[in-house]
């Protein structure tokens, strides 16, 4: 269980959050088929930090962008993202 510092709520257990996707996995509805396929199926998965989208589903329901290491799970940066609540 990670400890995630929600920018709105402070440090909370991972149990309150939903992992949504890697940021580069966002497929825009107006994108080309190629962009969509790249976002959905042909992403790299390096042993490194990557930006991800999470949602504080069982807390403030806000969206979060975080830079997490894919093997050590260290969270280097975290920030609020999305429409103003």
């Amino acid at each position: 269980m990670f400890l995630i510092a929600c920018p709105h709520c402070g440090p909370r257990s991972q149990a309150e959050f939903v992992y949504e996707r890697a940021e580069e996995a966002v497929a825009y509805p107006d994108g080309t088929p190629q962009e969509t396929l790249a976002a959905l199926y042909t992403r790299a998965n390096p042993r490194d930090f990557a930006w991800e989208l999470w949602r504080h589903a069982y807390g403030c329901r806000g969206w979060i962008r975080m830079r997490r290491h894919r093997t050590t799970h260290e969270i280097a940066e975290i920030e609020a993202v999305g429409a103003r609540l």
Partner: protein, 971 residues
């Protein structure tokens, strides 16, 4: 440490014994002269106690009865209580006389990989093999009754968590607490002290026991939380650890409240791992005989439990520490027959002291233990010469394995110490700091200093003032020095490798490992799986290094080159009840009640769980079967009118000037042209182009919409709405809210539905139209949408007013000759009308084209999932596509059946929903997904259900069986 004033009666294999408070089952039995405590897993060899703690591989027992029975409990980790009932394992008919021990005689027929090699053949043979394997498999018996006691979960936070309360752990906890850190100290034993309970010492001028008591009092004063009988099971991400606190022993009845165990989830700033080290056994023939014991364990039994495990002891060692055992046992009156030291040189003060008293041999290694149910001697090679000695105890020490489990679970690296033959904790990745014997520190002063250092370091890393850190305790003890281990893993000449056990719990011998290597199993991961080395309940605590070293020697490589398998939680076995906690039975999941729950419940209908909801399946009359009731209700809807509770549907209100633009992202159907006061069918896609849910969209006002979704989709829909709102289009002026529980809803369907609506004083809207009105001063919303294929209305009312509305409707419906109906009828009506359903046809793998929704798609795209639909594979006509089936004979079609042609080959599809005609014929019909389905109308297939043992001949037809022209629901 044993209270001799009060006796405790317990039974072992039905015989009553007496022990004392503070005894483990092992110490109490040893005190009674019982050394034979179990039979081994594979060969049913007699086994006794090897250890004095949780690493015990042999003495496993079943404890308790009924719902409190617990198998595979270590006799060394079970503190006796009045009424304890323990039974030995793997023996039949009795421990002393075991018929399965014949396996010992045929041991050469059960080598490593026996099952892999023997049970090879065509798949049908597995039906026979499985019985044979199941008979032989499994360690211990499973309980045969439901868990009798309660378990709970609790969360806790601290600055420094200290695991282990031996000298290092206590010193660390004191140092961190004195610096001001909030400390939790977890000790798996029933009392604090660790190795201090085994070896005499003076600390800060106090006896070990007095010093422990003072340390405990001081920690409590400083606010530390001390958890005894609490094991750190796993070290997870971001410094979260799971602890299991045992409130009672295995099989014991808990006090008031019935709490048996508590699972703690502790989030710590830093973690001091002071878990100690476990002693390794030595490889020689019959090294598993009762009476062969680890040297430190022998000392524990003597010092802590007051039991002399043997009168004539043979000591075999590769280090100085076992000499302590020799001196200790001699002090208690035992005869030390011989010390067999495998090292060429041993001249530490303790070795010299022992040599002055006992016969001690250097360059001496055990060849075999003699005796069967109890050792009576041993043979050894001393400088190339074979000697034979008599004795009833062989105390062995093959060196020490630091308990790096938690360190490794936390992502820590390992270093290799060659002389000690041990992996030691290297660089950490989280907040872990190993201290004391767990970090391969030896000698009491060194261990105390290391603990104090670790505790101080942990506190100061978290910003606590290190200036106030406490000095390490001053120890005074005999032979306060390192152990000078010289690990030699090769066996002595003359050892029979087939009885030299590496892993006694899984009966893996040195010969098995050699065989696996000869057969090409070079990777430690393969070796482990092939031989089952280290895969028993002790997870190889004592056997891992011996096995690795043997593989490394065969390979001509070093142990670190061969590598170590991953240590995974839990550190010791955990009962499933502790993991479940409170989440059992009715508390396993929340129960969601619709506003009409108590109205339904008063009729005691058969319930259908739908997610967390409970919905009535039907409302059977007295003596009526569920199937008959469902059919009666469905026919009533077709012929007159019926009503059903649809409050569980997802309902979302979307408001704002950009609401239409927002919905155009969500819905794959046209949105913009929807007029105020109108609704339409819609569906939603995932980004990969697959349909995930469907529902209806209603325009309530210029900038206000109501979107409904399926019951199952209601919990997923907010994620999609939120994703579009915050990630795809954060600039839109729109807000949404789930109104699922604000509105309750009742569907009224059937030719008489409009009359019922009118009787409430409401004007029935045209199909896919809506009206607002009031019933008894309560506001309602009437939507004309049909799921059944009949003229139908969904009447929405505020949840707290729904019961009144339902009662009014009930009167109106009854006077029309109608009925209430449940899910069974709802399904029969839907299937006959050919409507798809989320969870059946909408299974997450179907495109709009697959489900015949292509013509409803919004041409301009722009909705989630639109770009992916261009993939060629998604428009392949050979995909599984939606069609109807009718049984050629009229028989019911089995749901889930595979669709086969008469030619051999793979299934062409499957039945997704099965129903029957409501036209009086009762003929079996079904909805299905069939390869190129719509192109195969008229074709005959076999709907085959091996699990039901039924095959039904079916014809491919249009999925709309009822009113294909769609005239009935329009009135």
């Amino acid at each position: 440490m044993i209270d001799r004033d009060r006796g405790i009666a317990f039974t072992f294999d039905g015989r009553t014994y007496e022990g004392y408070p503070g005894d483990t089952l092992a110490s109490a039995l040893l005190a009674q002269g019982v050394h034979l405590m179990g039979r081994s897993f594979k060969y049913h060899r007699p086994r006794g106690v090897m250890a004095a703690g949780v690493e015990e591989p042999n003495a496993l027992v079943g404890v308790g009865t009924g719902g409190r029975f617990e198998p595979n409990t270590r006799a060394t980790d079970l503190f006796i209580y009045e009424g304890l009932k323990a039974v030995s394992q793997n023996r039949w008919p009795s421990l002393g006389l075991d018929i399965g021990a014949a396996n010992s005689l045929i041991a050469r027929f059960i080598p490593a990989g026996f099952y892999y090699k023997t049970f090879i053949g065509p798949p049908w043979l597995w039906k026979i093999y499985e019985h044979v394997i199941r008979q032989a498999a499994g360690l211990g018996a499973a309980p045969n009754a439901a868990e009798a006691d309660a378990f709970e979960h609790r969360a806790a936070f601290c600055d420094v968590l200290v695991v282990g309360s031996g000298p290092a752990g206590l010193a660390a906890a004191l140092a961190a607490s004195e610096a001001g850190a909030r400390v939790i100290l977890a000790e798996q034993d029933i009392r604090l002290g660790g190795a201090l309970l085994r070896d005499p010492a003076t600390l800060d001028g106090l006896s070990a026991l007095d010093w422990i008591a003072e340390a405990e009092a001081r920690l409590k004063t400083l606010g530390a939380r001390i958890l005894t009988r609490t094991t750190a099971m796993g070290y997870y991400d971001h410094n979260q650890l799971t602890l299991i606190e045992r409130r009672v022993e295995a099989g014991q009845t808990p006090g008031p409240g019935g709490l048996a165990q508590r699972l703690w989830r502790v989030r710590a700033g830093k973690v001091v791992i002071a878990a100690g080290a476990s002693e390794r056994p030595v490889l020689f023939s019959n090294n598993d005989r009762p009476g062969v014991m680890l040297a430190q364990a022998a000392r524990s039994y003597r010092r802590r439990f007051g039991v002399l495990p043997g009168r004539r002891a043979i000591i075999a060692t590769n280090n100085d520490d076992a000499y302590r055992t020799a001196l200790d046992l001699a002090e208690a009156g035992a005869e030390i027959v011989a010390i067999l030291d495998s090292r060429p040189l041993a001249d530490s003060p303790i070795c010299q002291a022992a040599r002055a008293k006992f016969r001690a041999h250097l360059d001496a290694r055990l060849v075999a233990a003699l005796g069967s149910k109890r050792v009576n001697g041993a043979t050894a090679v001393v400088a190339g010469r074979t000697i034979s000695v008599e004795g009833d105890l062989i105390a062995v020490s093959g060196g020490f394995t630091p308990l790096v489990h938690l360190h490794m679970q936390a992502g820590g690296a390992l270093d290799w110490n060659d002389a000690g033959g041990a992996f030691t904790p290297g660089a950490g990745r989280q907040g872990q700091i190993s201290a004391g014997a767990a970090a391969r520190r030896e000698g009491l002063s060194e261990v105390l200093a290391d603990g104090a250092r670790a505790g101080g370091e942990a506190a100061s890393a978290l910003g606590f003032r290190s200036g106030t850190a406490r000095e390490a305790p001053i120890a005074a003890t005999a032979f306060d020095a390192p152990h000078h281990t010289l690990a030699r893993f090769e066996t002595a000449p003359g050892v029979n490798l087939k009885t030299a056990f590496v892993d006694t719990q899984n009966d893996v011998t040195a010969a098995d490992i050699d065989l696996a290597w000869r057969e090409g199993y070079r990777s430690v991961e393969h070796l482990k799986r092939y031989t089952t080395l280290g895969m028993a309940t002790d997870q190889g605590k004592s056997s891992n290094i011996l096995g690795l070293a043997r593989l490394a020697a065969a390979e001509g490589r070093t142990v670190p080159e061969v590598g170590l398998t991953t240590f995974r939680p839990p550190f010791t076995p955990v009962t499933l009840g502790a993991l479940a906690g409170e989440a059992t039975g009715a508390d396993m999941a929340p129960l969601r009640r619709t506003p009409l729950f108590s109205v339904h419940a008063a009729l005691s209908p058969p319930w259908q769980p739908v997610g967390y909801w409970q919905r009535p399946r039907a409302y059977p009359r007295p003596g009526e079967s569920l199937a008959a009731a469902g059919l009666r209700e469905a026919l009533c809807v077709r012929q007159s009118v019926g009503m059903t509770d649809i409050s569980t549907l997802g309902k979302f209100e979307i408001v704002g000037p950009d609401a239409a633009a927002f919905l155009a992202r969500i819905c794959a159907t046209p949105v913009a042209k929807l007029a105020v006061g109108r609704g339409r069918y819609t569906f939603m896609l995932r980004e990969d182009g697959m349909v995930v849910d469907d529902g209806t969209l209603w325009r309530l006002d210029e900038h206000r919409y109501l979107l409904t979704s399926s019951t199952g989709g209601a919990d997923r829909m907010p994620a999609l709405l939120s994703y579009v709102r915050h990630i795809l289009d954060p600039g839109l002026k729109v807000a949404f809210a789930s109104v699922q529980e604000r509105w309750g809803a009742v569907a009224v369907a059937g030719p008489g539905a409009a009359a019922v609506v009118r009787s409430l004083g409401l004007e029935p809207p045209a199909h896919m139209g809506l009206t607002r009105g009031s019933v008894d001063a309560g506001q309602v919303l009437v939507l004309a949408a049909s799921y059944s294929g009949e003229r139908a209305f969904e009447i929405y009312a505020p949840a707290h007013e729904l019961t009144d509305l339902w009662r009014r409707l009930d009167t109106a419906i009854t006077s029309e000759g109608g009925t209430t109906y449940g899910l069974e009828a709802l399904e029969l009506l839907r299937i006959e009308k050919g409507h798809i359903e989320t969870g059946a046809e909408i299974d997450g793998r179907r495109t709009p084209g697959d489900l015949d929704l292509q013509r409803m798609l919004r041409g301009k795209g722009g909705y989630v999932g639109a770009p992916a639909l261009a993939r060629p594979a998604l428009t392949d006509p050979q995909r599984l596509r939606f069609v109807g089936l009718e049984a050629v004979s009229g028989a019911p079609i089995p749901e889930g059946a595979m669709l086969l042609t008469k030619a051999a080959g793979r299934p062409h599809g499957h039945v997704t929903s099965a129903g029957l005609r409501l036209d009086g014929s009762g003929a079996g019909i079904a909805l299905s997904l069939l390869k190129a389905g719509p192109e195969r109308l008229g074709e005959t297939l076999i709907a085959a259900s091996p699990s039901r043992g039924r095959n039904v001949l079916v014809r491919v037809v249009s999925p709309v069986f009822h009113d294909p022209e769609g005239t009935r629901y329009r009135e």
